[in-house]
Amino acid sequence: MDEDGDDVELIVRSWDEPEAFGVVFERHAETLLAYFARRTFDPGAAAELVAETFAQAFASRRRFRDRGLGATGWLYGIARHQLSRFFRTGAIDARARRRLGMPEREVSPDDYERIEELIDFERVGRAIGQAFSLLSEEQREALTLRVIEGRPYREVADALRCSEEAARARVSRGLKRLGRSLDAEGLEIKPGR
């Protein structure tokens, strides 16, 4: 909360001294980049989303009002909006950057790898493995046959010695449960909200 208070002060100061905004940027840029990277699994898109989010925040910093959420709440409000727009349309807004006259930057190969590191594939893999192990034997088997091996439901049913309806129900329940455990791990793989 203390840091948030500082952020608010910095943003208000940046109304007249844009340099103050640089400090806000330094505080939040990397976590925001990780936020986008873990949701899009696309380093290029994540970088651009960070750029647009900060451009919008900068352009509208005079309209910033502390409504109890602090600067972080405000910043992530913009970020969520950008993300859902990206999931919905597949495109990243560039209006704020254009208005500010900011150049388009490419993500260098080095950056690309570093951003991937932010996603922390190891953690993602671990989370998926853990979530998978939480499923029941039947669900795990059904998911392996249907999702990983891509077999039709009739074959899945034969292998599991059950009706096709039951096979479908197991796969669907298993996927739902998997999604829930991944959510709990802080991995938001489902696109959109």
Partner: protein, 342 residues
């Protein structure tokens, strides 16, 4: 942040550069930028709409102030109702509708009813009938109210009329008098001499057509009554008698109604109405109407309608200028953007 990601470093520099550019632009057009940043587009639009409405309202008010359009528009429904009501009393050339009873009677006594066609409805050679009303507001010297009031009552009596109503306050008051139409102008002239004329309106409503129409309908009804009376003598059965009697009753009722209307018109046209108001110098004119709830409501509605009318008229005046301003603004923005892009 330890600068490991080059993209973020570059982004930070870009943002600060944008801030620098903004600072330079700010010095040129602070108010515009500040305006844009401090208020959302929605509130700007709302404010613009409010200003436009206000401007339209005041323009409309100025424009209509002279001719009282607002008030006239506001009063229209009431007036329409009033004329509609008087119109209903005498629609020109209305044939007296035959009731089922009368039709049955005429079938049975067709040969006698032929005489009905022979009744001529001659237009009476009447002089024109006019309802005269006058409003007179007088300002009289201080301390003279009681005398002048008595003199006004005298005028009513000497011209063969009478005082219908009167109200007196301490140093002001009013008399409504009825005087014979022939002596209307004479009475009005003597009243004018009582003081300095403040307001005077004289109105004459020509009701000759209404009057002629009434008389024609009265004649037709009377002729019908004569025919029905003749039929009454020829009726041979009780049934026939009853049917003729019913038709006769209806006709009699109609005749009485028409006579009532004729009497009213007679009274209105033979006696003119003069509403006189007098006040001593320095006394504020008091509203005659007392503020009652229906009255207040009526005035509020009239005011509201008048206001809307003023706004509509005002918008008509403002729209062309608004369009020109819009085009100009558009051009300016275009030019600026092009210059900014280079």
């Amino acid at each position: 942040m330890d600068g490991t990601i080059g993209y973020l470093e570059a982004l930070r520099e870009d943002l600060l550069d944008a801030g620098m550019r903004e600072g330079r632009r700010d010095r040129r057009g602070t108010w515009r930028h500040g305006l844009h940043d401090r208020f959302s587009a929605r509130s700007l639009v709302a404010v613009a709409a409010a200003i436009t409405l206000l401007a339209a309202g005041s323009v409309g008010w100025f424009v209509t102030r002279g001719d009282d359009t607002g008030r006239r528009l506001a009063l229209m429904p009431g007036e329409a109702g009033a004329t509609g009501a008087t119109g209903a009393t005498g629609p020109a050339g209305t044939a007296v509708p035959a009731t089922a009873d009368e039709q049955g009677v005429s079938e049975q006594f067709g040969h006698v009813l032929d005489t009905d066609a022979g009744v001529t409805v001659g237009l009476p050679s009447e002089v024109s009938r006019v309802i005269r009303t006058a409003e007179l507001g007088l300002i009289i010297p201080r301390g003279s109210f009681d005398d002048r009031f008595a003199e006004a009552v005298d005028v009513a009596e000497t011209s063969g009329g009478f005082v219908a109503t009167s109200t007196t306050r301490e140093r002001s008051g009013g008399v409504t008098m009825r005087v014979p139409a022939a002596r209307f102008n004479e009475a009005l002239a003597s009243l004018r001499e009582l003081g300095e004329v403040d307001v005077q309106t004289v109105e004459g409503r020509d009701v000759t057509a209404e009057y002629v129409d009434l008389q024609a309908r009265l004649r037709i009804a009377e002729a019908r009554r004569a025919v029905l009376l003749a039929l009454m003598d020829q009726a041979r059965s009780i049934q026939q008698t009853i049917r003729v009697q019913n038709a006769l009753d209806d006709t009699q009722l109609r005749i009485e109604e028409l006579q009532g209307q004729e009497n009213l018109l007679d009274d209105r046209t033979s006696l003119a109405t003069i509403r006189l108001r007098m006040r001593e110098e320095g006394v504020e004119p008091t509203e005659v109407e007392t503020p009652s709830l229906p009255n207040a409501l009526e005035r509020a509605v009239a005011g509201f309608v008048g206001m809307i009318a003023a706004i509509v008229i005002g918008i008509g005046y403002v729209i062309p200028f608004l369009l020109i301003a819009l085009v100009a603004w558009f051009v300016v923005v275009r030019v600026r953007r092009r210059r900014g892009a280079v």
